[in-house]
């Protein structure tokens, strides 16, 4: 994944980059490449921060990814939008857990528990 200047990118391009990172994360998980996953995690955090900093918090632009065919994309889109669309995002997490979409189902279930216990407070 290339380093790029996020500030120069449009919202659509940022959403595209977010999706590409999530797909690479999925591949890294399948290959047990944890170091790569964690590098990709940091890249995704930067994309989320950039979207959040845009006018009216453009993390909402990630909501259409709730319907993506890939479970890692849906999981990450849901977690990234918990602050702006809490109910809908939570439903996506619940669906991943209910559908036994492992390995994402484990993190989806743990995220719901972390929300309910106040461990995770999305901002």
């Amino acid at each position: 994944m290339k380093q790029v200047k996020l500030r120069d990118m449009s919202v659509d391009q940022l959403v595209e980059r977010f999706t590409a990172i999530a797909l690479e994360q999925d591949e890294a998980l399948l290959n047990d490449d944890i170091a790569k996953f964690n590098r990709l995690f940091d890249l995704m955090e930067a994309v989320k921060e950039e979207l959040k900093a845009r006018d009216s918090d453009q993390r909402r632009a990630l909501i259409p990814l709730y319907n993506h065919r890939n479970a890692q994309v849906r999981l990450k889109a849901a977690k990234a939008t918990l602050a702006v669309a809490p109910e809908a995002a939570r439903q996506v997490l619940q669906s991943i857990s209910d559908r036994a979409e492992f390995p994402q189902a484990l993190d989806a279930g743990m995220t719901i528990k972390a929300l309910d216990r106040g461990i995770f407070k999305p901002t």
Binding site: N38, K79, R99, F102, D107, I119
Partner: protein, 251 residues
């Protein structure tokens, strides 16, 4: 009276026809046995994953016709629409044994996960199971895929199973052993029977990977780092939650 040379070939032909008929019957019987065996294996895998034959299905004619339903609004196992995308195609089964451990493991993971999803969603598993049963190179690894289909068990059941090691399963520490040891917890506590469970090996790997990967839930650090300042009961809570959300431990 017909000459002997004309009678013998006719009897010979009858005997050959009888033999062919018998052979066809045997093939039909063998085919029926095979169908039964496939159906039995499918049922075995499905019941391991918690399939309930009396669970209601959405009536035909509906968009989700034939799929499982809880009978209540928002059944968890429906396919497509707002409940997520439809079940994807099964992973391709390599005809030859993969040359690397990575390829082999990736297939085992993909197959186990797809089968679990398909069974949960009431998807068609017959063709995949039949193809997978036919691959002799999988003989030693099939227990890993089948163990993954186990339904959730009680903590007592998982702890008692520790004394019966079995292929396809790993002994798992509820509180992760290495960080606990680094933080000064004694081995007697780490290896105590109440901290050990026998779980499907592929679930054990998934939980380990989850502990190792950075997570938004815990201020962008890994769950492994997050539990480092927790006491034993705090670590146990996270460990038990991970087993529940993996579908290994009954809630």
């Amino acid at each position: 009276m017909r000459p002997r040379e004309l009678i013998e070939p006719r009897e010979k032909i009858h005997r050959m026809l009888d033999h062919i008929r018998w052979y066809i019957h045997e093939l039909k019987w063998r085919n029926a046995c095979l169908d039964f065996e496939i159906a039995a294996r499918r049922f075995h895998l499905a019941t391991k994953a918690g399939y309930n034959p009396s669970q209601p299905r959405v009536p035909t004619g509906n968009p989700d016709g034939g799929q499982w339903t809880s009978g209540a609004q928002g059944g968890a196992a429906s396919i497509g629409h707002n409940q997520g995308p439809p079940l994807e195609d099964p992973p391709e089964i390599p005809k030859q044994e993969p040359s690397s451990a990575k390829e082999r493991n990736n297939f085992l993971k993909a197959a186990a996960r797809w089968l679990a999803r398909a069974i949960r969603m009431g998807g068609p598993v017959g063709a995949f199971v039949a193809a997978y049963e036919a691959m002799s190179w999988l003989d030693t690894d099939r227990p890993f895929i089948e163990a993954y289909q186990d339904p959730p068990k009680t903590l007592d059941e998982l702890q008692e199973a520790v004394t019966s090691p079995q292929r396809g399963y790993n002994i798992h520490h509820i509180v992760e052993q290495t960080p606990a040891e680094l933080d000064g917890f004694p081995r007697s506590m780490i290896d105590a029977p109440d901290n050990l469970v026998r779980i499907p090996a592929l679930k054990h790997w998934e939980i380990n990977r989850w502990y190792e990967t950075k997570n938004e839930n815990y201020d962008q650090v890994t769950p492994r780092a997050y539990v480092r300042d927790k006491d034993w009961s705090g670590r146990t809570r996270v460990g038990l939650d991970a087993l529940i959300e993996s579908g290994v431990l009954k809630p």
